[in-house]
Structure formats: structure tokens, C-alpha cells
């Protein structure tokens, strides 16, 4: 009965899909709890710790540290009134949350969580990482449709911001992944994991060649991580839902479970993106040291390794949210277009050069050429930056605020300078 290999292909596919979607549905509440607890600890609070303390008849208490809090919230939201504003575009308004949640589940289609080729990935298609990028950019449709349908100016602004932000960061994300595709010679994510099982930097035996430990992979990983945060609209890039400017941005008019669907979509997408990050840069389901590969080779061992890396990457998202303030909108656009995109593109070109030199002359020469060319590009960048110094400084300088009556001008960075205090 459990001879999966002999099943009909569609049934096998269904099994693989359920093995991915159901755990994702179950894990998301846990992640919300984890974020709330972690943020609380970082802010010197306690956080949700009461729900799911079960008192038995004997007086013994079973404590689950509030783990069921998000599930309790979800049940509450299910039974809340679904307020539907009168002036909305009805069809789009109802479709939008579903469209926002959909890519979060569909993203993992090519993601291998273990070495077991029968159970994972759901479909090992040739387009691999391109599929992930295609689906991830679908997410913005949900947000922009929600913003448009709500007939609320703040929602519309949130939706527009999300669009502009996504398409600005999508380019840099694609180019950072392009460097990895060049280095692994395939778009398949399983192939990327296999490539990372080689010797570190091509010279160190026993250690695996995780891309994050190679110079080009490190640059790509940093760019990719920043772009992922921007794509999932997380702090410090959560401008589409900046609550001090836009109430709640695109989901201002959504209540009850529809709001929760947006929320779930964001967390599920974060988790799957963390999975993509650990697959592409952290060696996927494989261990770093060769002797431990036996453990990671089994289905459960691979799953445990993969989950550990994914949750660690997810925790970094939360850590960033606790540490960094929100960017101003022009700073955000400037970062995407002026910094990340040139860095990613030059990284891509330099990787192509590195592969060429390595094949022609050898491993060491390849690395020397790599570092030399990147140093050269950095010098060019500094020179260009020096030439346009005024502009860059202008773009990033703090602004002064003019009050409504036009009589006051206050410097935000240094209020004392213009005599606000006293």
C-alpha cells in the first residue's frame, strides 16, 4: 500500500503536495507565536504565554507557553463579523485576499526539503528557481487589487507602494539569483543543492561548498535577503502597510478572516522564502561537514536539517524587524535601484569571468581574478559615487518639516539646532 513509486503519477503528486501544504498550514500559527515571543523578549516584555495552559483534574498544569495563541486568534477571527464597506468593488474585494495567499502556497513547488526524490520536491521541473520568481511576483496582484477595490485612499496608496517596491526589488533579486544559476549551471533547485556538496571553494576537502561561504555567493545572499524582505513587505521595508502613514495600508478595509488571510499569506511567504534562501545559499537539506552527510541523507534527517536552517533564516527576519526602523520611501527606492541593482549585476558579470578563468587556468587563478575584478568594480563605484556626491547626500539626508502655517521649519535630525526646544 505504501509503495509510493507504483502509484499513479497524479496520486504521487497529490501526496507530495499534501506533505507540503498541510505542514505549512500547521506551522504558520507556530511562526506567528514565535515572532511575537521573540519580539517581546527583544523588547523586554513577556509576550503571549497564557493560552493553552491546561489544568487537569488533579491540579497539575500542562503549560504550552502560549503556543496556541495564534490558533485562538484565528478561531476568534473566523467568528467575527465580516464588515464589507458599501463603496467597494465587490468581486475584486473578495478575490484579492485569496490572490494574496495563493502564491505563498504555490511558491514551494520546486523546493526540495529532503533527499528523498519520491516525496520532494513536488515537481522537479527544469525551470526551478524561475518558477519561484514567477510565483513570488504574483503576490503583488493580491495587494494592489485589495488597495484598488477598497475605495480608500490609504489602501490605494498602500497598493501602489507595494507595486513600485516589488518591481524595484524584483530586478536585483533576479540578478543575485542569476549569479548562483551561473555557478551551479542549472535552474533546478535540486541541482543547486548537489552543486553545494562539492569541496568548499573548490579546494577545501571535508567541508561543503555552501554558496554563502563563497565570495560571490555572499554578495548574492546579502542582496537576495534584502530583496526578499522587500518582496514580503516586512520591516524595515513595510511601507505598503506603514501604520503611522497609511492606517494599515492595503488591508485597512479588511476585517475578520479576510484580514487574517493577508496575515497568513505574509508569514507563509516568509517561511517559504526562508526555505528558498537556505536551499540556494545554505546547502539545502545537506550538512556542512562531509562525515555528517549520512544523517542528512535520510528523509527525516534531511527534513530536520532543512527546517533548522529555514527557521534560523526566518528568525533573522524577526531580528531585523526588532532592530531596524522603517525606511523613508525615497530611501527605499534609492536603495533598490542605486545600490542593490548595480551590485547584483556586477556580481553576475564577475561570476561569469570567474568561471571562465577557473576553466582556463585553474582554481586559484580563478579566485584571484574574482577578487581583483570585484576590487576594480568597487573602485569604479567609489569614483562614480565621488563624482555624484552631492546627489547621494541629498537623497539620504534627513528632511526638514514645514508646519502647516508655513512659519516654522524644523530640522528632524537635530531639533535643537533651530530652537524648537526651550
Amino acid at each position: 500500500m505504501f509503495d509510493v513509486a507504483s502509484w499513479h503519477p497524479a496520486l504521487q503528486a497529490l501526496l507530495r503536495v499534501l506533505l507540503f501544504v498541510l505542514p505549512l498550514l500547521l506551522v504558520v500559527p507556530g511562526l506567528i507565536w514565535w515572532e511575537r515571543r521573540l519580539l517581546s523578549w527583544m523588547q523586554d516584555r513577556i509576550g503571549p504565554n497564557r493560552v493553552a495552559t491546561i489544568t487537569l483534574k488533579s491540579g497539575r498544569k500542562i503549560k504550552l507557553f502560549g503556543l496556541l495563541q495564534p490558533i485562538a486568534d484565528g478561531i476568534k477571527l473566523f467568528f467575527k463579523e465580516d464588515i464589507t464597506p458599501s463603496a467597494i468593488d465587490r468581486l475584486i474585494y473578495f478575490v484579492a485576499p485569496a490572490v494574496a495567499l495563493f502564491p505563498a502556497f504555490a511558491l514551494g513547488g520546486t523546493l526540495p526539503w529532503s533527499g528523498n526524490t519520491l516525496l520532494t520536491p513536488i515537481a522537479d521541473v527544469n525551470v526551478g528557481i524561475l518558477y519561484v520568481m514567477a510565483i513570488s511576483s504574483l503576490g503583488v496582484y493580491g495587494i494592489v487589487l485589495a488597495g484598488y477595490a477598497s475605495n480608500n485612499k490609504y489602501s490605494l496608496m498602500g497598493g501602489l507602494r507595494a507595486t513600485a517596491q516589488l518591481i524595484s526589488y524584483e530586478l536585483a533579486m533576479g540578478m543575485s539569483l542569476a549569479a548562483i544559476v551561473l555557478a551551479s549551471g542549472s535552474l533546478k533547485m535540486t541541482q543547486m543543492v548537489t552543486t553545494q556538496q562539492g569541496d568548499l571553494l573548490g579546494v577545501v576537502p571535508f567541508l561543503n561548498n555552501w554558496f554563502i561561504f563563497t565570495p560571490f555567493g555572499f554578495v548574492a545572499a546579502v542582496v537576495f535577503a534584502i530583496c526578499v524582505i522587500a518582496e514580503t513587505n516586512r520591516a524595515p521595508f513595510d511601507l505598503p502597510e506603514a501604520e503611522n502613514e497609511l492606517i494599515a495600508g492595503y488591508h485597512t478595509e479588511y476585517s475578520s478572516m479576510k484580514f487574517a488571510v493577508f496575515f497568513m499569506g505574509e508569514y507563509a511567504a516568509m517561511l517559504v522564502f526562508a526555505g528558498v534562501f537556505s536551499t540556494v545559499f545554505l546547502g539545502g537539506y545537506d550538512m556542512f561537514i562531509d562525515p555528517l552527510e549520512g544523517i542528512a541523507g535520510t528523509t527525516l534527517g534531511g527534513l530536520a536539517t532543512f527546517m533548522f536552517k529555514t527557521v534560523a533564516s526566518f528568525t533573522c527576519f524577526i531580528w531585523l524587524r526588532a532592530s531596524l526602523p522603517r525606511l523613508r520611501y525615497d530611501q527605499l527606492m534609492s536603495l533598490g535601484w542605486r545600490t542593490l541593482l548595480p551590485v547584483a549585476v556586477s556580481n553576475f558579470i564577475v561570476v561569469a569571468l570567474w568561471i571562465l578563468i577557473t576553466n582556463k587556468y585553474g582554481v586559484w587563478q580563478g579566485w584571484i581574478a574574482y577578487l581583483g575584478s570585484f576590487g576594480l568594480l568597487f573602485a569604479v563605484y567609489l569614483a562614480v559615487r565621488g563624482l555624484s556626491k552631492n546627489r547621494v547626500d541629498n537623497a539620504l539626508a534627513p528632511r526638514s518639516i514645514s508646519l502647516v502655517d508655513g512659519t516654522r521649519s524644523v530640522n528632524v535630525a537635530d531639533p535643537q539646532a533651530e530652537g524648537v526646544g526651550s
Binding site: 467575527k80 485569496a98 484598488y148 524584483e170 542549472s186
Partner: protein, 152 residues
């Protein structure tokens, strides 16, 4: 093509989950409609006018730039998959060809930066020299905040 069955099944299952989640609360929750509740929430102030207004051209410009740059890059993806495992002579040839191709991309990028297409804030999209002539005097002309006299 058989491997794409998984993608199809995944899309179907994901769609079912999404639709179920959105429609469940519609079925389960109470419904008590009042005019005040069903008006758009704009900080408690009665909304004025339609929200589907014109929006700044900047969004449009960024979208067009994205399409231009992205389409140029798409042509490289198929080359990327064969580059690593080909012969050195082909690598050398295609690397130089890629450089020529990317130089058009880079030229376009530099042009977009120079004309200020990606400057979000108009004070920075002006030329620095113009900035000194036009914007800064206006800022300076404004009466600087005087500390409120105490007791008055």
C-alpha cells in the same frame, strides 16, 4: 512534461485552500450592517470624493523601467544554464558577447539614473546646481522657527 503534474496539483490545492479560507468567515460571522460601519475608514473623518483618483506618474515610470530592464535580462537565463559546462573556447566567446550585450543594459541604466527617472523625490531629481538656485533659497526664505516666548 510529466513533472509538471505536481505543479498543477499544487496550484489546484492552493486555490482550494485560499477560497475556503476567504469564504468561511463570510459563512460563519454575524452580519449587522450600519451605514457608519460600511463607510471607508479614513481616520474617522468622513471620506471626501472617490479614492480611485489619479496617482503620480512616478509609479508608471518605475514600472516601465522594470519591464525594460527585466526583459533584457530574461534573454540571459538560457545562456546561464549552459555556460558553466561548455568548452573554454565557447565560454570565452560567449563571455565577451555577454559583455557587449550587458553594456547596452548598463548604458540604459546610466541614462535612467542621469535623467532622474528613478529619483523619487523631486528635490533630488533636480540637478545639484539647479537645486542651489531654486529650492534652497526658498527653504532659507522661510522664517526660521522662533522659540515661543515663555509665559505668553
Amino acid at each position: 512534461m510529466e513533472s509538471y503534474i505536481g505543479i498543477l496539483v499544487l496550484v489546484a490545492v492552493a486555490a482550494i485552500v485560499c477560497v475556503a479560507m476567504v469564504s468561511l468567515s463570510w459563512v460563519l460571522g454575524p452580519k449587522k450592517v450600519t451605514p457608519y460601519k460600511s463607510s471607508p475608514y479614513e481616520c474617522g473623518v468622513t471620506p471626501e470624493g472617490s479614492a480611485r483618483e489619479r496617482f503620480p506618474i512616478k509609479f508608471y515610470l518605475v514600472a516601465i523601467l522594470f519591464i525594460l530592464f527585466d526583459i533584457e535580462v530574461i534573454f540571459l537565463w538560457s545562456w546561464m544554464t549552459i555556460y558553466r559546462d561548455s568548452e573554454v573556447s565557447f565560454q570565452l566567446f560567449s563571455f565577451i558577447e555577454m559583455l557587449v550585450y550587458m553594456s547596452t543594459w548598463i548604458l540604459g541604466y546610466i541614462y535612467a539614473v542621469r535623467v532622474g527617472a528613478i529619483d523619487w523625490d523631486e528635490t533630488t531629481s533636480l540637478d545639484p546646481a539647479k537645486l542651489e538656485d531654486t529650492v534652497l533659497p526658498k527653504l532659507e526664505a522661510k522664517p526660521v522657527l522662533q522659540p515661543a516666548t515663555e509665559g505668553s
